[in-house]
């Protein structure tokens, strides 16, 4: 077994404001003879059309994919206004990428075809045996498309036992448009599906720091298509929620949403339904699917930093020191940390665990669209042991 060169997977970021400078900066840091594919996350501050042209120019024919963010995680930790990227060495990673252009029409047949073609591409690259042990799928979805659940459920049926994870693109809380990048352009109402096959050991994870409280709220009026809850317990949703958290409706903001999440319980686990905003009619918009009649449990937060450190340490215990940990970190987690004033500690932890990634409008894990989690994959330095 050959020693793995340091270039097998490398990360870089640029905080240059100018799109061409940023793209060149990245290309210069990432380029090497065996660079096979680049994955990036960028601030919505960039002029996306210019950035797309600059990236195509800087990287040429090299496959490039990515999405916009609600904040980046770079080698400095929590960052913003930057573009951060991971470069995969084609000798150790086979990365196949497909764009889903219309999320609302994504059928099971489409999912099957997409999965088959990605599997074929990975097999052709023959980097490692293409099976569920050596392969994972990364999804990057338009975070405002309200189609995540159906697309993910469909894709997951086709993927079978292959683990999938990912994040929904963000736009720095502007809530006006989120984009995924493929083939020289940014697309909305679209998704990127990447199949990554590698002999290097990796572990996919998803965790949160939320604990259930006792209060329950029943959604009594909702617009499932738009993820809007008009009423909780037959009261205007914002009023009911404001009373629950003890804050006037006018003062409901992202930090409150982050600190006092609502979650649905399915079997024995709780899945956060994160609130996106309060609408003028006192309804609440969510980042993920809601439905009339679901029971929302009020949650309180545990120690976000301890949970982060503990979970990533446990993974590195099993995997050895992570080479790169790709993190899809819910934007509300970052809101909470910023409100707590612990950004520096959080950044130190993220650096220690070699995390790069972005703040999302929702995370994806094995076909589930979830909120207020840290979901990702840690890539180790060792070749996967034969089991």
């Amino acid at each position: 077994m050959n020693a793995i060169p340091p270039s097998a997977v490398i990360t870089a970021f640029s905080d240059a404001r100018d799109e061409r400078l940023a793209a060149r900066d990245l290309a210069q840091k990432l380029r090497h003879d065996n660079l096979g594919c680049v994955l990036f996350f960028c601030s919505i501050d960039y002029r996306l059309d210019r950035l797309a042209g600059a990236l195509a120019e800087a990287f040429g024919d090299l496959p490039l994919c990515g999405c916009t963010s609600a904040g980046e995680i770079t080698s400095r930790g929590y960052d913003s206004g930057t573009i951060v990227a991971i470069g995969f060495d084609r000798r150790f990673f086979s990365v196949g990428a497909r764009l889903i252009e219309r999320l609302d029409g994504f059928s099971l047949a489409d999912a099957q075809q997409l999965t088959d073609s990605l599997l074929c591409e990975c097999r052709a690259a023959s980097v490692a045996r293409v099976d569920a042990d050596n392969t994972f799928v990364l999804t990057l979805l338009d975070g405002l498309s309200v189609n995540e659940e159906l697309v993910l459920a469909t894709l997951n049926s086709a993927l079978g036992s292959i683990t999938s994870l990912g994040g929904s693109a963000g736009d720095d809380y502007r809530l006006s448009g989120t984009y995924v990048y493929s083939d020289g352009a940014f697309h909305s109402n679209a998704a990127m599906v990447l199949m990554i096959n590698s002999a290097l050991d990796f572990e996919v994870f998803s965790f949160h720091h939320l604990r259930p409280a006792t209060v329950k709220l029943v959604v009594t009026a909702a617009d499932a298509e738009r993820r809007v809850v008009q009423e909780l317990n037959a009261e205007p949703a914002a009023e009911a929620y404001a009373r629950l958290v003890g804050v006037p409706v006018a003062e409901l903001d992202d930090v409150v949403f982050a600190r006092y999440p609502l979650a649905v319980r399915i079997n024995n686990d709780y899945y956060a339904r994160s609130i996106q905003r309060v609408n003028d009619d006192l309804s609440l918009s969510f980042y993920c699917a809601v439905e009339n009649g679901i029971v929302l449990t009020a949650m309180h937060t545990g120690s976000i930093l301890d949970e982060l450190d503990q979970t990533l340490s446990d993974i590195e215990e099993r995997l050895g020191p992570a080479w790169v940990t790709l993190g899809c970190d819910c934007c509300l987690r970052r809101q909470e940390i910023e409100a707590d004033g612990t950004v520096d500690q959080a950044s130190a932890l993220l650096r220690r665990h070699s995390v790069v990634g972005f703040n999302t409008y929702g995370e994806q894990f094995n076909g589930m669209h979830i909120n207020q989690t840290m979901t990702g994959v840690a890539i180790g330095r060792r070749q996967r042991s034969r089991r």
Partner: protein, 481 residues
């Protein structure tokens, strides 16, 4: 509604207010109830709506997680079991190897001891045989007892040696084609006398069948069966017979003896296992006889069957494949006209490194009128005569000479080479050995030497001498190569 109540003002009693509040609360609860009912009903439908899709995914993921966990546990358990089995197996293998090593060393020990015991026994028998030929009636009685004791001892040692060789797996069949009569006639005659001594009748039904078998091994099986039949029968008769069965012939030894109980018939082929009553009949037996029979019949690939009823008798049957003699083989079977040839005056040289054997052999050969020169080596022989030039009729050569030195074959060859060089005639050689292996047998056959196995039976030696001298009738004839 509250506003309506307020507008009504004075007309509203506290009771009315309370009722209005309750109705509002009731309406709210009804809506919650409706929402829950809708949800419950929705949840039973196919997951086409976004939230239902999410819920479906969660349940699926959880099932996958649980199954993966169950599989992992089952897998781990299997791995543990495999590991445990591997450990047990390796311990068993170690124990087996140990037992095998112990068994091999035991077998080797027994073989070595049998061989060493055979040497002095051989000498003793030669002496008693010589003494018996003397017409001294005073010693005859005691001699016959000594001879019987020695015979028993010899048979025990032979049995032990056979068993150990069979255990060591060094015995293999060398099948040849021969008429069954050639072997059975001799045995029938021999055991007829033994049976008669006990007052038993031995009925022999000869057969013209030609079989494929190893005559030596077959003879050992038949001897064991016949000895047992005579030993364990007090009254009645013993049958030695043959019966053709298709492509096979069945050789049967049946008796009217003590028989074997149903409860013991399964054990009789095991080593050192003897029937309770058999022990009474034959105190000196080892219980190896039938185990040897069974092992040899397996080596020969002759199926062995036994039927027995207690107090009625036993019937052992061995199945041999039929064969056909080639013309050359048939000719070789012609009996040699050796009988009655006198050994008187023949010059016999004996070389054996065991002084007692030399001495016993001299006594025996001189009984037969031979002129004997015996020595422990050719060099020692040269002290009395000139081995290269002096005439002689036959050389009796022990194969196993001093360890580290040349064997009898090499020594005999060298002697004959020297003789030819000196212009004297090469001597016919009778090789004496306890080595029953195929190699020596083939060498002797190739070089024209006669092979006699130890312990030497005087009659056999006499026959061999007569046979050899027939082939080389004169000490003064032309030298042969």
């Amino acid at each position: 509604m509250a506003e309506d109540n307020a507008a009504d003002g004075d007309s509203a009693s506290p009771w009315d207010l309370h009722e209005a509040r309750l109705m509002a609360e009731n309406a709210r609860l009804r809506r919650i109830c409706d929402a829950l009912i809708e949800r419950v009903e929705e949840s039973n439908m196919a997951p086409t709506a976004p939230y239902a899709a999410f819920q479906h995914s969660v349940v699926l993921a959880e099932q996958v997680r649980e199954r993966t966990q169950a599989l992992r546990e089952a897998n781990q358990q299997l791995l543990d079991e495999i590991e445990e089995r591997r450990r047990v197996e390796s311990r068993l293998r170690e124990a087996t190897e140990k037992a095998e090593r112990a068994n091999i060393s035991k077998t080797k020990f027994v073989a070595a001891v049998s061989h060493d015991l055979m040497q002095p026994l051989n000498a003793a028998r030669l002496f008693t045989s010589a003494l018996q030929d003397q017409p001294d009636h005073n010693t005859q009685f005691m001699l016959s007892h000594i001879d019987t004791a020695l015979l028993d001892l010899e048979s025990l040692i032979t049995t032990l040696a056979d068993a150990s060789k069979l255990d060591a797996g060094v015995v293999s069949a060398e099948p040849g084609v021969f008429p069954l009569r050639r072997l059975l006639d001799v045995l029938a005659e021999e055991y007829r006398q033994m049976a008669a001594a006990k007052g038993l009748r031995l009925r022999y039904v000869p057969s013209s069948a030609v079989v494929r078998s190893d005559p030596q091994l077959l003879s050992r099986v038949m001897r064991n069966l016949l000895s047992n039949a005579v030993r364990y029968t007090d009254r009645g008769s013993i049958l030695l017979g043959c019966r053709r069965r298709g492509e096979r012939v069945e050789v049967v030894v049946a008796d009217t003896g003590i028989g074997i109980g149903d409860d013991q018939i399964g054990d009789i082929f095991q080593e050192f296992k003897r029937g309770a009553r058999a022990v009474k009949y034959h105190e000196r037996g080892l219980g190896l006889g039938l185990s040897i029979v069974e092992k040899i019949s397996r080596i020969l690939d002759h199926p062995l069957t036994v039927r027995s009823r207690e107090n009625r008798g036993s019937r052992f049957a061995l199945q041999l494949p039929l064969a056909r003699l080639s013309a050359a083989e048939a000719r070789a079977m012609e009996p040699a006209a050796d009988a009655g040839r006198t050994l008187a005056g023949r010059r016999v040289w004996v070389v054996d490194n065991d002084r007692a054997i030399c001495s016993g052999m001299r006594t025996l050969l001189e009984q037969w009128g031979c002129r004997v020169a015996a020595a422990e080596s050719v060099q020692a022989l040269a002290e009395h005569l000139d081995p290269r030039r002096d005439p002689a009729d036959v050389l009796l050569m022990d194969y196993h000479l001093d360890p580290g030195g040349d064997n009898g074959m090499t020594v005999a060859d060298a002697l004959n080479r020297d003789r030819r060089r000196a212009g004297a005639e090469a001597l016919p050689v009778i090789m004496l050995t306890a080595d029953r292996g195929p190699y020596l047998k083939q060498r002797c056959a190739r070089d024209g030497h006669t092979l006699i196995y130890k312990p030497v039976k005087p009659m056999k030696l006499k026959l061999a001498l007569q046979h050899t001298l027939t082939r080389a009738p004169s000490t003064t004839g032309p030298a042969t190569k």
